[in-house]
């Protein structure tokens, strides 16, 4: 009996350790990313580091302004087309399509989510980039190519979360609206979408987070010129590409600057995620 109690206690301790592992992991990640990145940001000055457009790391000029704007530009352009498309698909799956067909579509979306980013990058490099070069002009490696590839990659995030949000709306909402004489579409646009709006916004924000953080696919199709893009067809470099692109040969302050780029990215994503988590918590509490 005593032995039993002992092993029970041991199991609980082991389980507690496993639960603590992820907390420990995030602490170590934060410590190491900050430790490698913050000194350089402090040295350069945060304003200069974030907004200076001049990136000549081998010559002591560390400004990632062009990359910050590059990341935002590519992300924004990808959202412009994937958000409407994703939300419409989500509505179709949740409200319009017969359940069997919606399930098939859900499987397709799952597959899209499962395809690795290098495969998207490869497809972009082989198909989309030459298409842009031959039919729209420019070099092909461009903001547009990045926006197309990224948009495809974040579609599953947008569709799945929006669909869940729409499905979570109580049936009575729609029934009441229909009973009051509204058509199916009027109920969708006036009742269901507003009710699901916070979930849909979450979907967009998480899609945005994914797009900002995506690396390999973007690296392969955007041309990576560290300069402000002046058109959709101009090459652009994102913060993520900057890291992979230059990590190989970087040393000293240059390497530190790449870690600092990672630090900025990390802080940005963590704030974005915390905002979503906390607002979602607030949302469910209101709902209750």
């Amino acid at each position: 009996m005593k032995k039993n109690k002992l092993s029970e206690g041991l199991v609980e301790i082991l389980l507690r350790i496993s639960a603590g592992a992820s907390v420990l992991a995030i602490i170590i990640i934060t410590v190491f990313i900050f430790y490698k990145g913050i000194p350089l940001i402090a040295k350069v000055g945060i304003i200069d580091f974030l907004f200076n457009l001049k990136w000549v790391p081998t010559n002591g000029s560390f400004g990632i302004g062009a990359m910050v704007i590059g990341s935002l530009a590519v992300t924004f352009c990808s959202l412009v087309w994937s958000v409407p498309l994703g939300i419409m698909t989500a509505i179709l799956m949740a409200e319009i399509a017969p359940p069997k067909l919606a399930d098939v579509l859900a499987r397709f979306v799952e597959l899209l989510a499962g395809i690795p980013s290098v495969v998207y990058g490869f497809f972009g490099l082989i198909v989309i980039v030459p298409f842009i070069r031959n039919h729209l002009g420019g070099v092909g490696l461009s903001v547009l190519a990045g926006a197309i590839v990224l948009g495809i990659m974040i579609l599953p995030t947008i569709i799945n979360i929006s669909r869940d949000a729409i499905l979570a709306i109580p049936k009575e909402y729609k029934e009441n609206s229909l009973a009051l004489g509204a058509t199916h579409y009027q109920s969708i646009f006036r009742v269901i979408l507003p009710a699901a709006s916070s979930g849909i916004i979450t979907a967009i924000v998480l899609g945005l987070g994914r797009a900002i953080g995506e690396t390999m696919a973007v690296l392969m199709v955007t041309g990576n010129a560290a300069v402000l893009p002046d058109s959709l067809l101009a090459p652009v470099r994102t913060m993520t590409s900057n890291i992979v692109l230059e990590m190989g040969y970087a040393a000293g302050d240059h390497q530190a600057a790449l870690f600092a780029t990672g630090t900025v990215l990390f802080i940005f994503i963590v704030i974005l995620n915390l905002a979503v988590s906390i607002s979602m918590k607030a949302g469910t509490e209101n709902g209750n």
Binding site: L24, V139, N224, A225, A226, E246, G248, Y249
Partner: protein, 287 residues
Amino acid sequence: MFNRKKYFHYFILGSLLFMSLAVIGCGGSEKKDTANQGQSGELSGSITIAGSTSVQPFSEVLAEEFMTKYPGTEVNVQGGGSSQGVTAVVSKTADIGSVSRELKEEEKAENLKEYTLALDGIAIAVNPANKVEGLTLEQLKNIYLGNITNWSEVGGSDADITLVNREAGSGTRGAFEELVMGEDTISDKAIVQNSTGAVKTIIESDKNAIGYISLAVTDDKVKAVKIEGIEATADNIISGQYKIARPFIYITAEEPRGLAKAFIDYALSDEGQAIVVEEGAISKTLK
């Protein structure tokens, strides 16, 4: 419910967990080191070569042949880049580092041992469909400064030049900047790729592109233009007439021993140098 003491416990327990993982990791690498020292008679064990992506293909083929010759040995070849090669050797992450440029002053201060594996010319490559056959160093510099933006300005057809550059820190870029650009910086409008192969891929597919790549990888899919009327060939590089060239160097942290020594000796032997030449670089000892 939320007390500090409890958290402290999690922290301690978690640290123990990670430390035990660390021990596993260190245990593994220690085993590797002792294996290297079994140098009397039979060669065995494993070594890691890390560094320049320009040297990587050479190291890979050399490693392949070396391992066939000495079964029971293992030579791991990593990319990473020249600077990472130096870092890896200094931090003992790799046994041999590879560098595709002259060592910098601060790197020389680390007391590294250097072995010149080969010479490599940097070819100025354009698409085979491009009419331009040769450029002067001045024209080349102005193209990379962004002053010349159309091929018609240097005798080609009327089309915008697609400028392809390597990433900051690249050995090839360092060599190109030193040999061609002097004090001036390359236009930031250029497309940036982080490997020789990636630059070549763009030149193959974009008929208006220009880039600088290792002569070793230049084949009939791209065209190397003459510089100042001199063709980029091995003879012209050894004789010093073709100006855009650099060394491939192997480095070690201390006097190499065991497997690392055997591998470097092999790479510098006639047999190893023949492989280097076969793969497209220029041997100093073997014509």
